[in-house]
Symmetry: C2
Subunit: 340 residues, 2 copies
C-alpha cells in the first residue's frame, strides 16, 4: 500500500508507492516498439479497469467502443480510494498518511496517434468536460483537499504509453507548489484586496514583452520567473479561482487558445516532449465561508505547459532553483512570430 509521508526536515510531502514499480517502465524505460497492444485504443476497453466516466454515443454501454473520451482508474495507482484515510505516523519526526486518494487516467481520444494540437475544437472540449466532471466528483469527497490534472506527452516528459492521455490525482493534502501559490495570493489579497495574478497580468498586458497571444478572454503568457525554457501559461484574463466553474462557451474559447499555444510550441520547438499541469483551487466545499471567500477572490487558476528540454540535476534537486537558459521575453517573441 502507498503511503503519503511528510518530510519534517524539508517540509514537503512524498508518496512512497511500491505498487508503482509494476507499471510500464517504472524504473527502466521501454522502447515504443515493446509496448505491444495499446490498452487505450478503441476496442481494447477490456484491458483497462472499468471506466468511471465517458463521453460517447447515446445508448453506448460502459467499457465498449463508441466513446470520444474515457476515464478509467490508473492500473498502477499512486493512491487508492478503497481504503479509509488514516494517519500511520504522527510525531515531530515522522508524519504520514496511508495512500488514500484517487488516481485516474483520462484517455483523451480513441485514436492512437492523434495529439492534442491536431484535434478539433469540440474534441478538445470533450477532454475539458471530462476533467471538469471528475474534479467536481472528487471534490464531493470531504477527505479530498486537492486535485491535480496533469499530462505527460513524449517519453522525455515521463509518458509510459504513447496513446494521448492525461491523469488526475486527488489528494488528501494540498501539495507544496499549489499551496505556495495559494498562500502568496492570499497574503497579497489580504493586503491589497486584489488578486495578485490579475495585477501581474495587467502589467504584463501593458508591457507586452512576455505575452504570446490574447484572445477571447484568455492569454498565452511566458511568466517572468519561468522555471523551464518556453514555460507557457494559459490563463483567463478575468478573475476565476476554479477551472470547474467554466461553462461550455468558455471551454470552447479555452480549447482555441490551448490549441493555438501547443501549435506554436510544437512548430517552433519541433515536437518537444512536454507536460501539462492544471493549477485550480483546492476543495472549497468543506471549508468555512470566510476562508472560501478569500480563496475565491485571491486564487487565479491557470494551465501550465512545460516543455522538457532541460534536465534537473544536482543543482536543481539541491536548491529547488531551476536554471532556465531561455529568457521568457525571448521565448514569447519566438512564439509570437510563429505563423500558424
Amino acid at each position: 500500500m502507498s503511503e503519503l509521508r511528510f518530510d519534517q526536515i524539508r517540509k514537503r510531502w512524498v508518496i512512497i508507492a511500491p505498487e508503482r514499480r509494476k507499471r510500464p517502465f517504472a524504473i527502466c524505460r521501454i522502447d515504443e516498439s515493446e509496448e505491444g497492444e495499446c490498452p487505450f485504443c478503441e476496442g481494447k476497453e477490456n484491458l483497462t479497469p472499468p471506466e468511471t466516466f465517458a463521453i460517447g454515443f447515446s445508448g453506448r454501454k460502459p467499457d465498449t467502443p463508441g466513446w470520444r473520451v474515457r476515464v478509467v482508474p490508473n492500473k498502477f495507482p499512486a493512491l487508492k480510494s478503497d481504503i479509509n484515510l488514516t494517519k500511520l505516523h504522527e510525531s515531530d519526526y515522522f508524519l504520514s498518511l496511508n495512500g488514500f486518494g484517487y488516481h485516474e487516467v483520462i484517455i483523451e481520444t480513441p485514436v492512437h496517434n492523434y495529439p492534442l494540437w491536431e484535434r478539433k475544437i469540440d474534441e478538445i472540449m470533450d477532454m475539458f468536460v471530462a476533467i471538469n466532471e471528475r474534479i467536481k466528483f472528487f471534490y464531493k469527497d470531504r477527505k479530498i483537499k486537492y486535485v491535480l490534472l496533469f499530462g505527460n506527452y513524449g517519453k522525455a516528459a515521463g509518458a509510459s504509453l504513447s496513446h494521448p492521455h492525461s491523469q488526475i490525482v486527488a489528494l488528501p493534502t494540498i501539495p507544496e507548489i499549489p499551496k505556495n501559490e495559494m498562500d502568496s495570493s492570499r497574503k497579497y489579497y489580504i493586503k491589497n484586496k486584489r488578486c495578485l495574478i490579475c495585477n501581474i497580468l495587467k502589467e504584463e498586458i501593458e508591457s507586452g514583452a512576455r505575452i504570446v497571444e490574447r484572445r477571447n478572454g484568455f492569454i498565452i503568457w511566458e511568466p517572468f520567473a519561468s522555471s523551464f525554457p518556453f514555460e507557457t501559461w494559459i490563463i483567463p484574463e478575468n478573475h476565476e479561482c476554479d477551472f470547474s466553474n467554466l461553462n461550455n462557451i468558455e471551454f470552447e474559447k479555452m480549447a482555441f487558445i490551448l490549441k493555438d499555444a501547443l501549435l506554436r510550441i510544437n512548430k517552433f520547438l519541433k515536437s518537444p516532449p512536454f507536460n501539462l499541469v492544471l493549477h485550480t483551487s483546492c476543495n472549497l466545499n468543506y471549508i468555512n465561508k470566510k476562508e472560501r471567500d478569500i480563496i475565491k477572490k485571491s486564487y487565479h487558476w491557470h494551465l501550465e505547459i512545460i516543455s522538457r528540454m532541460t534536465q534537473a540535476a544536482g543543482f536543481e534537486w539541491g536548491t529547488g532553483i531551476n536554471i532556465n537558459p531561455i529568457p521568457p521575453e525571448e521565448a514569447a517573441e519566438c512564439l509570437r512570430e510563429v505563423k500558424l
Copy 2:
C-alpha cells in the same frame, strides 16, 4: 548576463542563464564519443579557465600537470563574480537580481575513468579539502549567502562531461530547499532547545530500520520521507552545522563512509547515475551573533546521494511531491546486505 528572478506567485528563485545555452549539450544531449578532447584530463590545463585552487606537488606552477585535485571557474557559468550585485527589478510582481555569484568546477582527479568509489581514501580526502577551501573562500564575501556543492555522475544525472567532477555554486540568496531545512530546524530548536536532526537520528538508531551503516561517528541513512529510490544521506552523528568545520581526521572518517555508501549503491543498483548534494550552513560570517548561535545549534549538515532512476514528470513538477516506488526501509535493507 544571467539573472536571478524570484517567482512572486510560487515563492521560489529561478536562474535565467542565457550563457548556459552554449555549454556542452545544454539542450540537446551529445554522445560520449562526440566529446572529443577532455578538458579535465591532466595535460589539458590550457583548455579550462585559470585554476582558483589546486592540490599538487610542491613547486608545481598553476595550470600545469602534477595536480591531484584542481578547481577552475565553470566555462559556462550560471552566475558570475566580475559584476556588482544589483537589483534589476523590485516590486510585488517582479523581483530580480543580476547574476552575481560564483560557479566553479572541482576536477576531482587527473584520471579520466576513475570514479569516486574506486579512489583511495586520501584521494577522496583531497576532494573534501578543496571543497572546504572554496566554501571558506566564498563565505568571506559578504554578498554570498549560500554555497551549494553538487555532483552529477552519469548522463541521466545531468553530467555533461564524463571526467569525474563536481561543482560549487555560491549564491547571493539562500535557496528554497536549504532554507526550508534551516527554517524547520530553527523552529524545532526554539521550541525544544535541541537539534531536530539529532533527535530524529536518535530515534532512527534505536529502530535501525533505515540505517545502512554506522561507523566512526558517521551514519549512512535512508530518510523516512526519501524523495528518490535509494536516496541516501551521509550524516555526522554528533551535531555540527558546517561541513567546513571538519578537520583532517574527520575528513578521513567521512571519506571511508562515503566510499562505503557509494560502493553499496553501485554494487546493488549496478552503476546507477547519481547526484551528490552537500547541504551545509549558510554564510554565518556576516549575521548577528544571536542568529548565528541559533543556526549553529539547530542546523545539521549532511551529504545527500540521489540515485536517478525515476523521472520527474507532470505530477512532480505540478505538486512538488515526488513519487518514490522504493520504501526507504527496503532500500536500507538491500544496502545493508551488500557484501563489500
